[in-house]
Symmetry: C2
């Protein structure tokens, strides 16, 4: 927020993050069709010429750039830390906690996380870009599914199909971007705790869970 | 499919359903921006003049019309049957089963349900239309939340926050529209069973569940 109020202090990367977030917010509000590069520039407080310095390809490139930015953040804050954890249950807890925090921390008053929502927009990408985004999403699904498979080998997984379970967990977490309001009744921490309880309640066998209470 | 191959036998309502489904599919594929009324008309096998008979307001009205159609189907197949069930656990099972079936039955090869996805698109609606759609979605969230509250009174709910639990259930179910492939490994029935296990596993107390196995 500091760098937003003083745009001259923003580094190149901070400025790009501001642009992606502002553009995602406008897409959620007015649709892709109803959002102009000028409106994005105005929201970030730079000139229309200035925004083309950052996004030379214009609006057509912006959708792919926002999705890549969102998936970069997922890499940094969720996927990379998870890879460092050998124990499957610990890794699952880390994935849930970090991903929930990533979404709640980027959520806006009134209840939505624009970047997370735009990452899941369908349509509007060129086939090449779409393949790239789909490939990155698949990597994350595989990480979750492999973690569930390992939990099964450890005798800790409920009798559930790992694929359906992986997508269900993803549905629970990604849906937070549609309803979580940072000014609402529940703090980010409470939401993370509730999601952890709900997710583990459906995935882990009762005795495994109790050992952690 | 029959009425699609012989358009002259389709009734007005069937034709509208075809138009909404085709338009939703094109939106998911090419984005709202990249979809023309002619492309929708061509997909349904009617003339461009013909499609304006059904959708006089053109593309601008189409998004709201698809969402209303999707929510009408939710009303008919999920909400109305649920209201007829006084027992909370039975009502919850009915909501899950009927909503999962609604999504899997409208899913396309390759893995998505275009109408369900478009209902959850954000942006692109006029403020009046948006309020109407949001209001209808809220009614459904309230139905689920009230059912969970009743389960709590019955002593059957896990120690979870009813609001987070309601949205998590919704996330699990709605996310099916992004990954379920009718030509994939799992049948619609198997997916419904797995989702039921996962959802009830996180929501119902263990003894309640076991009594139903």
């Amino acid at each position: 927020m500091n760098s937003l109020s003083d745009p001259f202090e923003a580094t190149e990367n901070e400025r790009l993050a501001q642009i992606y977030t502002a553009a995602a917010e406008l897409f959620c509000e007015k649709g892709f069709d109803g959002t102009s590069m000028s409106a994005v520039a105005e929201m970030v407080g730079i000139t229309k010429a200035g925004i083309y310095h950052f996004i030379p390809g214009g609006k057509k490139d912006l959708l792919f750039a926002i999705m890549s930015y969102g998936l970069d953040r997922l890499d940094t804050h969720v996927i990379t830390p998870a890879h460092a954890i050998p124990d499957a249950e610990e890794r699952l807890r880390s994935i849930i906690n970090n991903h929930v925090r990533l979404i709640t921390s980027g959520s806006k008053t009134g209840g939505h996380n624009p970047v997370t929502i735009v990452v899941e927009e369908v349509g509007g990408l060129s086939p090449t870009h779409r393949r790239k985004i789909d490939q990155r999403k698949r990597v994350y699904v595989e990480l979750i599914r492999d973690t569930l498979k390992q939990l099964k080998q450890d005798g800790k997984l409920q009798a559930v199909d790992e694929t359906v379970a992986a997508f269900s967990l993803l549905g629970i977490i990604l849906w937070i971007s549609r309803w979580y309001d940072p000014d609402g009744r529940l703090s980010a921490e409470q939401v993370a705790d509730e999601i952890m309880k709900l997710a583990l309640g459906s995935l882990l066998r009762p005795q495994t869970q109790q050992a952690h209470h």
